[in-house]
Symmetry: C2
Subunit: 329 residues, 2 copies
DNA sequence: AAATGTTGCGGAACCGGTTCCGCAACACAA
DNA sequence: TTGTGTTGCGGAACCGGTTCCGCAACATTT
């Protein structure tokens, strides 16, 4: 298993190594030499050493992917989509996890630059000045996925529109007393856009809304569900900012003896696959994570090749209207 | 942001670059020179070029991780654990996805070797002769995770023991008519060890068992649940080989109008977090994926440094006895 | 004082590619 | 026949590190 080098090929084919290199990179090589080299490469299973190549070219065929966490459904589906497409296109994916620490996102931007990745896909949560500075410093194309910023190419989920569409549907079904369970505004996409979409739909219909704030963790939403179960107001619908929150709220309601959708309706957002097989199945919005990942891969490759693409691109969404939300009229 | 090289450092410090290199790698350098070099490196933020280093050393600080799929709960948790520990230890993780194609596992073994990773953690499903050949060829430490083979260092889940323990518990609770829903034996851990553990427990108690075979996909288990709902035999318990299967079966039962655990009990295996918050909460076995990932990282690093470790190591498990299985006596 | 050992350092080769430059061979136009 | 252009190829430098070798300066032993 000793490494075959370009020198070996040159020697075996009886030519200079510069000629072999030219052959490999599509330079001008005569018919006769071309064939000799071809044969030798075939026989020896020669494959160029990537380090030597990168040393000179200061480039790799790697795309760095910065993710806040690896164990979320959204992240892993997205990564999967990215990987599939990159592999097809002859690139490799290098995933780095930041464990939800903003500081590490910045570190990793520099770090990936040091590793000479060709481009970076960043599944962001917040965009700060220091992020922007890092992106400027490293001189490498960066695609922001799932958040947006005017100075960075971004591919975003239509959180506002999707939330608005779902909210509007609920209004048409006659819900007028709504509880909204969301997350803090530090997460632009979920904490702001999604919330605003819902609230806009509710306000437009003149509905009565109460807002609760929780985290992305299932457990934290359980007590909220429990409290709602105890309360004696006349809310007919609980709208949750994520499927995880919906899961927690459902558990809390069950603990409090309420049944869905008979006593009260519940909706989620995000599109876990298994929301469909729960009983009751959960009304939610499906975001195409995997396809979006592939799309992101395409876009970063376009950026690499210098193509101009819009600063901001939206993905699609799909309402999944199921059993957990009741139709009042 | 131009790259500072060892030559620049040498020039600025007024020494030869070999001296700088020696300084960096802990060779013999005098006090005076040491300080000069130190200062210059400090000032310039010098960082060695990894490609140049790898070119010479034919090694990297990367550990390759081969996974059959990226979007499973088990895989993503495991990867997370691996990554955390590797980062702590100064290594980088390079994840490659095989999209569940055995052929690509073998390809990737060779491919990772080409990229000169220091070691490989392989989340395997089946081990064939060709895998073994590849592992022998590449001359790089490989740790098999989640499956076992006498010739490869492996870290495995105690599928048999865990299944046996859970099965025994069910027997103590008085279940004697059991339906087992598993997967084919091509997956050694799930299709064989897990099944055998259960069956052993059932047989020991003289229970009556019927076996169904399905896949890892939720959807494929739904019709099985539906058929069970229609059947008029007197099974009291459905034991599923994975949580996903349990989810599908539960849906099928719900479709058929059966309620759990009143009409029949259901158990899963694997330990999705949210099995706890479902209603009813699901009895299952929790496997410590994340911790196991960390453990795997430790082990591969031990292998790199030439330490001797046992060929086969077991992880732990924890029974999660919850609402979905009824206690008959 | 001479012989021997130790330490610090510079020079040069090497890892395996890419690329620039220039020369030789040949074709074609003047 | 001379001049001009094109094509194919080899030599050498270069990318940024590591490592081997040898020399000079100094310390230690006899």
């Amino acid at each position: 298993m000793k490494q075959v080098t370009i020198n070996d090929i040159a020697k075996l084919a009886g030519v200079a190594k510069s000629t072999v290199s030219r052959y490999l990179n599509g330079g001008s090589v005569g018919q006769a030499t071309r064939q000799k080299i071809e044969r030798v490469i075939e026989e020896t299973n020669y494959e160029p050493n990537q380090f030597a190549q990168s040393l000179k070219s200061k480039q790799t065929k790697m795309i760095g992917v910065i993710v806040p966490r690896l164990d979320s459904y959204a992240a892993s589906r997205t990564i999967m989509g990215i990987d599939e497409r990159l592999t097809e296109r002859g690139y490799q994916m290098l995933v780095v996890n930041t464990a939800q620490q903003t500081e590490r996102e910045i570190e990793q931007l520099y770090n990936l630059a040091k590793q000479k990745v060709a481009g970076i896909i960043w599944l962001g949560t917040t965009v700060t000045e220091r992020h922007l500075q890092a992106i400027k410093d490293i001189q490498i194309p960066v695609l922001l996925l799932g958040q947006e910023h005017e100075h960075v190419h971004s591919l975003v989920y239509p959180d506002f529109d999707a939330a608005f569409a779902l909210g509007k549907q609920f209004m048409e079904w006659g819900h007028r007393d709504v509880l909204y369970v969301g997350v803090g505004p530090y997460d632009i996409a979920v904490g702001q856009a999604r919330r605003d979409g819902f609230l806009h739909a509710f306000k437009e219909a003149g509905a009565n809304v109460t807002t609760h704030t929780t985290t992305f963790k299932i457990e934290d939403a359980i007590p909220i569900g429990e409290r709602i179960a105890e309360a004696t107001d006349d809310a007919t619908l609980i709208v949750c900012a994520t499927d995880n929150i919906a899961l927690g709220v459902l558990k809390g309601l069950a603990n409090g003896g309420k049944s869905v959708p008979v006593d009260i309706s519940v909706s989620g957002f995000g599109g876990y696959d298994f929301t469909e097989v729960l009983h009751p199945s959960i009304t939610t919005v499906h975001l195409p994570y995997r396809r979006t990942g592939s799309r992101a891969a395409d876009m970063i490759i376009q950026l690499l090749s210098g193509e101009t693409i819009p600063m901001k691109t939206f993905t699609s969404f799909e309402l999944k209207l199921r059993e957990s939300v009741d139709i009042l009229k």
